[in-house]
């Protein structure tokens, strides 16, 4: 790979560097500088694209759909909106939204019952991590802006203290948006799933395959840590738990 090729390809997707690009960047000072500058620009671009979303949009959507269902029920002959019957009507379900239109969608309590469910959760977290396996092999720390963007999407204030973050993405776990981070350590990658919209009942630590999984409650929601068995995860857990600041909900 030459410099021209590097600069062409890196402009297509600065967030993800293929191994050949990483190799070139390590050898070429000029391209390394170019890339660092590009990363800063990407962070700014991310911030610019994240225009403010109206606070009450979610509530408005729920409200609008409840009216849709009400009118549908009023007109039994209507064949426009085929809805299956349910126990509780949607309008009853979202009654709270009608009262406070700007209310944020609430924290969901997830029932966990002792070890079998802990095992299931452990498996689910490991599975999620393996589903995004490419995130585990990244070497290069990503920009602070990129991490901040990911955290911001789930209402968490950026953590300046967290270093060596090589991956940051927003994922859906059990229908809740989470922040998925990977931190590089000398013993291997540690995956951190910050789930401010999800509260688990019990905290636990389990092992699965070559991984150890720990679930901790945050002030709001929960955080899962998945790291190599050989690693002492305690310092990273502490660092994250001390600096994480959930802004919303």
């Amino acid at each position: 790979m030459n410099c021209l090729e590097f600069r062409r390809v890196v402009l297509e997707e600065p967030q993800q560097l293929a191994p050949a690009l990483v190799a070139h960047k390590q050898q070429c000072k000029e391209c390394h500088r170019y890339y660092v500058q590009l990363q800063e620009q990407e962070a700014l671009l991310m911030e610019a694209l994240a225009v403010p979303v109206p606070d009450d949009l979610a509530a408005k959507i729920m409200l609008q759909c409840s009216f849709d269902e009400t009118s549908d029920q009023a007109d039994a002959n209507s064949s426009v909106v085929p809805l299956k019957s349910k126990g509780k009507t949607f309008s009853q379900f979202i009654g709270g939204f009608a009262v406070a239109a700007s209310v944020m969608l609430g924290v969901v309590f997830w029932q966990t019952h002792l070890s079998s469910e802990q095992r299931e959760l452990t498996e689910m977290f490991v599975q999620h991590m393996e589903h995004e396996a490419h995130s585990l092999v990244l070497e290069e720390p990503i920009s602070v802006g990129r991490v901040g963007f990911t955290l911001n999407n789930v209402g968490i204030k950026p953590m300046g203290e967290l270093v060596n973050v090589t991956y940051a993405a927003n994922c859906i776990i059990e229908d809740k948006m989470v922040a998925h981070l990977v931190v590089k350590t000398d013993k291997g990658p540690v995956t951190i799933l910050l789930m401010p919209n999800k509260q688990f009942k019990t905290e636990f630590a389990q092992e699965a395959k070559q991984w150890q999984v720990a679930l901790t409650n945050m002030k709001q929601g929960s955080a899962a840590f998945i790291g190599p068995k050989t690693l002492d995860m305690e310092p990273i857990q502490q660092q994250v738990m001390q600096s994480v600041d959930v802004l919303q909900i």
Binding site: R8, L45, K60, Q64
Partner: protein, 173 residues
């Protein structure tokens, strides 16, 4: 992924996707109230068709598809054309793309990008789409997506005067 019932499933979809969808809609339309309408209309249609959604993991691309269709419908009603803007016609803000650029300037440059460059980069950075996902959503070849992503960044740099800093020098396409 299991779902207890339709209401919860829908609430989860709204919670998870209304923000990225709104931002995507905003950059498609450059208009806050149109974006809001589009997102509401999208979720309304999603709500009505929720029973036909088999796989909740596919919900994101399903919602994007609905939103794009709604936007296209809007264009049919009011045929408004985005024009390709030649970068050399644009005012030179003569600053770095980097820290001296304020958000407003960057946003204004974004909205002046032609739609064919703007949409892929918004899909990449707002929706977190891979190049392949963008290709299938826009029904264009993956190498076209790559070219557009590259040109989008080059045009933004050019608009913001980044060229003078040697930022995209030597990256002729």
């Amino acid at each position: 992924m299991y779902m207890k019932n339709k209401d919860q499933q829908f609430q989860a979809l709204v919670e998870a996707y209304h923000k990225p969808l709104y931002r995507y809609a905003y950059w498609l339309t450059s208009d806050e109230s149109v974006a809001e309408d589009l997102v509401q209309e999208t979720f309304m249609r999603a709500w009505r068709a929720l029973d036909s959604l088999q796989n909740v993991d596919a919900a994101k691309s399903w919602l994007i598809t609905i939103l794009r269709r709604e936007n296209a419908r809007r264009f049919q009603r009011k045929s408004l054309e985005y024009s390709d803007i030649e970068t050399d016609e644009l005012p030179d803000n003569s600053g770095h793309f980097a820290y001296s650029t304020n958000m407003e300037a960057l946003r204004s440059c974004m909205s002046r990008l032609s739609e064919k460059y703007r949409e892929p980069i918004v899909m990449q950075l707002v929706l977190g789409y891979s190049q392949d996902e963008i290709a299938s959503a826009l029904e264009i070849p993956a190498n076209t997506v790559a070219t557009r992503l590259r040109r989008a960044r080059q045009q933004l740099q050019a608009m913001l005067g980044g060229d003078e800093q040697g930022y995209s020098r030597g990256v002729g396409v």
